[in-house]
Assembly symmetry: C2
Homo-oligomer: 229 residues x 2
């Protein structure tokens, strides 16, 4: 018998099940919250047995990570659009990039809160800082790299190589703040973002002055120590 579904791409049943579980999980996380949703709930809602969820995702947290990973790819066009719309100044582009990311994640703020659990431990496989998630992180950092080169920022030779990572760290700080920001519409985060980008841009201008060279040298040493390379 002819099957419409199987014509295009012919996704294996496995992929479908995996997606079904992830969708069910995300729906329940949003409506009931992460902690309140049990793996049994998710499996039942997806129409599979409990164990099936673990066949596709090694842990409950891993489901959140899968969502995060998937999102990073899916939001890429939106981010590029938002960045392109903004004025070609580091301050504006930075704000546009991070702001677009927050907008995209807005409906899932409560879901991402789950990443806070182990997100701070670089040894944990689910941390954005872990070796495990290096691919995601590097794609993310590349976005900042792009902004920097497009804006033709004049930056000291020694600081240059670290700048994308620093901006990425700044972004992570904003996101962590945002996750736990319960102000109306997360307005505090948006204010923080506005002020933060302004400061970052100012600092970069100052960083070029000869006067700041000694301080910059120490700062770079600190950065390299923190990176552990």
């Amino acid at each position: 018998m002819f099957n419409m579904e199987s014509v295009a791409k012919a996704p294996h049943k496995a992929e479908i099940t995996g997606r079904k579980i992830l969708d069910a999980a995300l729906n329940m996380f949003q409506t009931k919250g992460f902690e309140e949703t049990t793996m049994r709930d998710i499996a039942t809602s997806a129409g599979v047995a409990t164990g099936a969820a673990y066949y596709y995702y090694p842990s409950k947290d891993a489901i959140v990570l899968a969502f995060y990973e998937h999102s990073c790819v899916e939001m890429q066009p939106r981010i590029e659009h938002a960045v392109a719309e903004s004025a070609c100044k580091l301050e504006d582009r930075l704000k546009a990039l991070i702001g677009a990311k927050l907008d995209y994640f807005a409906p899932y703020r409560g879901v991402l809160r789950a990443l806070l659990k182990n997100g701070a431990d670089p040894a944990h496989p689910l941390s954005p800082f872990s070796r495990n998630n290096r691919p995601i992180r590097e794609r993310d950092i590349a976005g900042f790299q792009k902004i920097l080169s497009e804006c033709h920022i004049r930056v000291p030779q020694d600081l240059g190589p670290h700048l994308p990572d620093l901006l990425w760290m700044f972004q992570m700080g904003v996101i962590y703040f945002w996750i736990t920001d319960d102000s109306q519409g997360q307005q505090r985060t948006h204010r923080l973002l506005t002020l933060g980008t302004k400061i970052v841009a100012s600092l970069l201008k100052i960083a070029g002055l000869p006067l700041t060279r000694p301080l910059r040298k120490v700062a770079i040493e600190l950065i390299e120590t923190a990176k552990g390379t």
Copy 2:
């Protein structure tokens, strides 16, 4: 019958049991690790039933918090001594204070790792940032306040009130880094501390210059936004 124990202080049995449980827990955390130690282990080792542990500590994490709380009081003299030994310069005193804290906590580094779990969420009762732990935090911050006034740092009027909190945040950053620093003897953290204090001291000197006023104004606005007051 005469009882030697009851002469001095006459600690209620409750206090003894509570301490017995905490001691048992800390011992096992250190030897077996936090995750690997079960509440049943702790209770058994303390010679009580499982439920008793929960009568004294509302959760497993709470045991770690109790330890942290107790430590903060106990280490006070050591810290004051270390600070008094150091040169009366902000850079040195800051390093002495934070260094002393790390030294004290060194044997329990693995234990404190447990605080990383919910430590980043200010809404969680076990977070050092939570309203719940305000007393501990404020005593902690007072230590930095003291250093600042002793060193006769000349600091702009508008920045002054925020400075103790900022130094406290700096300390928390160092501690979080330290908890997950697996380098030999945590030498990376100590390097980070040396460089960090140097930068903090330098920034404070610069902060007084008229040139930096606009940037400082924005920074203070950011700080106030972050504090949410």
